[in-house]
Symmetry: C2
Subunit: 477 residues, 2 copies
């Protein structure tokens, strides 16, 4: 652990983020510019998120599959919107097996193309629908300004690709994923509250009819898009010739959705909860739930280590993720190290504790400490972990509420956005022009619109014409 | 399901294999030659194998990480043996982000190069050792003669990469993985018995000092290498400049292991257990543990479907993986379909069953059926699943024993190997010449040698000189 103090969030948030990722040993840049190595502690967080997602993806009726990494460039180019959106970011394999390939192969920047080209074989009749498939995969999109977890040339994700008989069913699918899978994991497992919404036309996924989104607030006041779920209409089916025989014998095109969530969520977790001492991890995703720190001198070392080991074993048996920190280092070093690494709960055990039959429990979220007797330890630890999980969520929710504004003039809106103080919601006429003007003046974007259209009153905050939408703007990652 | 009968294994095993993979909906060829799409039923088998492996990899002290897909060609080329072994199979990215890259990037054919180049930063002191890391990843190796699961240009695997202070510790690690992780999963979860051994020099992993292997017997008498674990010496550390300060302050190079298991295991599972009716899946990895087939006529359809549904729910609650086959099809079609797909246990429910309060249970392994009363159903099903798991293992073990031979002359050896009747074990002088001669005459290879060296008596079955090893030959996938 570095001896320099961590930069304060308020002084230099980007440097705070970079230092936390590095010092807490979550990830590092790789040999290849823009790619990252995910280290054990960072990967363990991703695995916890994966498990929570996979369970819900299966519970909502989806099955996992695996489609190939490499896609013929010609297949990718069939879908005009898609290739226009992704062409600048695609990596291309031109040689393999010691020879130049007849046709270059793209590394998937997303898998709609290869999957819908394959669905053409799989969907012949309405009896084949719906297809509810998901895959866990790596994706390559060439990034010029990489940042660990947030923007990397390669990232890990899941991508769902479903096909349905009706438009209504496909839209319902996209929303089920948004609410019952994504929002449930981000809010209840990661303890990060989100706005749920719909993207404006300029912010949609290439080829989508509607993109639904979860937008989270980071502690520097910027928004981060935590997940997206797309209703794709029947465009992909038409492009890739996916036709089937419908219930009345008619030829029909299925309606599509796709939806994804990536390793950038680890970045969201860090920036939503971390403080000037480092990470604060919700127990549901923390690699170390409780860290036991024995505090000893030379003469009582063996005795205290033995007692600490017994406590760790007892808590492990009770189903708690426990780490015994028996490193040969000063307690002060260990305290700071586990604060940096965001372990939710620390259990200190010294000579006096041993004599009294107590331990000292220190919460990472509030830094508050309390004594606990050995008899009641299991119940207290489990209660504290629950409390930390819900307190982190409550704190983040308070922050989100406090940083949600309703500006009433363009001047107010621009000021809020330039300072990156959170979300600003106001009427919008729905035109690209007004959207572009705010972006040009502030660099902020419309993060989302309400999922349900219509029922909007009042005027566009930019041009004063009648509002068609209530838009929520923010600076964003 | 196709109406043509499946080819018999004894008539045309390769065609039997291809048809089973296709008809049981496990996988199919992709748009890109040599790559495969893993379909839901195939992927569910892989997930069951993954879960079993991941649990044991973690229980033996390893942590998961993720290293990038793309490796600079120059980094890959640093390790002479590795690049010599893999150069003919590497796929190369030359363009990305709309421009030609300054340096071409290889898609990982295995990750020793990128990982050891990174370990140079991570290993400074003996305190940093051992490093016990694993990753789940996709791999590309250009294959000219692809076969689903067995040889594909892209496959999924886990690869472990560890670093140790001593040679002894590294060898012990490679063997722990072979015995406690790989053999435990292949034998006890997949129910496939294996020979455990060491590879001859010509069959070793490029750059390895020793390659340990698990060899399984397929039902056509050929061997399949189910897993390998390599002791790599300090060659990779020297190549990539991984030096550390040892316990006495001396500069030292760490000793390495690597080990991997791939999606080809799904192919092994199919060929080790399948019969002329199709797949036979051990319950521990079967996507469908018990399939409930309601047998009804028009007038009792609703009543029987309702009872079948209640049974399925009851078994699900008891922790059994149950599928209710309520498709609108003849029972005979369903029976054949689930035999093809290898569901371990079928539960038939007809009108007479309903009247008597019984069901008919049909085991896929033996096709034997028995009546069970509703009261005792949970216990009987669970007992039958256990019995199917152990019977499949026992049958495969019997076959392995019956197809293990001890030829006493070169003529005998060649005859056994030309017919691909299993494993043939005999003395070998240890020279490349005698190994090459047998391969030239029979196309069979030495699959393994005993893990412990020495203690060999008798003569080389090829040249008659003193034997240095007892070698086990077979035709192999």
């Amino acid at each position: 652990m570095s001896k320099d103090p961590l930069p304060n969030q308020s002084d230099d948030f980007p440097r705070w983020y970079g230092e936390v990722v590095r010092r807490a040993d979550l990830a590092e840049h790789s040999l290849v510019r823009g790619a990252m190595v995910i280290k054990p502690r960072g990967y363990a967080i991703w695995e916890a998120i994966q498990d929570a997602l996979d369970e819900r993806i299966k519970a909502t009726g989806h099955q996992n599959v695996y489609f190939p990494l490499l896609v013929p460039v010609s297949v990718l180019e069939q879908e005009g919107d898609l290739i226009e959106g992704f062409a600048p970011e695609v990596a291309v394999v031109t040689h393999a097996g010691g020879a130049e390939l007849e046709e270059p192969l793209a590394i998937r920047p997303t898998s709609e193309a290869v999957i819908w080209a394959t669905y053409a074989k799989w969907i012949q009749s309405y009896r084949d629908l719906p297809l509810l498939y998901n895959q866990w995969a790596n994706i390559v999109r060439w990034e010029l300004r990489p940042r660990l977890f947030l923007r990397t040339t390669e990232f890990l994700w899941q991508e769902g690709h479903t096909a349905h008989e009706t438009e209504q069913e496909a839209i319902a699918e996209a929303l089920t994923i948004l609410h019952d899978v994504y929002a449930d994991v981000v809010e209840n497992v990661m303890a990060v509250p989100v706005l749920r919404g719909r993207k404006s036309a300029t912010e949609r996924f290439p080829g989508a009819v509607d993109t639904f989104t979860l937008e989270a607030l980071m502690r520097d006041g910027k928004a981060l898009q935590a997940a997206t779920s797309h209703y794709l209409g029947d465009g992909f089916a038409r492009t890739y010739g996916v036709r089937y025989t419908g219930r009345s014998g008619e030829e029909a095109y299925p309606f599509a959705t796709s939806w994804g969530i990536t390793t950038r969520l680890v970045g969201a977790l860090i920036m939503a909860h971390g403080d000037d001492r480092g990470l604060r991890l919700p127990p549901a995703v923390a690699p170390h739930g409780v860290v036991v720190v024995p505090i000893y001198k030379d003469d009582d070392r063996a005795q205290i280590l033995e007692a600490a080991d017994a406590i760790a074993k007892r808590l492990t048996t009770a189903g708690v993720r426990v780490t015994l920190d028996d490193r040969d280092a000063r307690p002060g070093f260990k305290f700071a190290d586990w604060e940096l690494k965001g372990a939710p709960l620390r259990l200190d055990l010294g000579k006096r504790d041993l004599e009294r039959g107590t331990v000292t429990l220190v919460r990472r979220d509030t830094l508050a400490s309390e004594l606990a007797t050995m008899d009641e330890l299991g119940a207290i630890v489990s209660g504290l972990l629950d409390s930390i999980q819900s307190q982190l969520a409550a704190q983040a929710q308070e922050r989100l509420t406090a940083h949600s504004f309703r500006p009433t003039s363009l001047v107010d809106l621009e000021e809020l956005l330039r300072d990156a103080t959170g979300f600003a919601t106001a009427g919008w006429c729905g035109t690209d022009e007004c959207e572009a003007l705010v972006k040009e003046r502030t660099t902020a974007t419309i993060r989302c619109l309400p999922i349900d259209r219509g029922g909007v009153e009042g005027a566009c905050i930019v041009c004063g014409r009648r509002a068609a939408e209530r838009a929520t703007w923010a600076q964003a990652y």
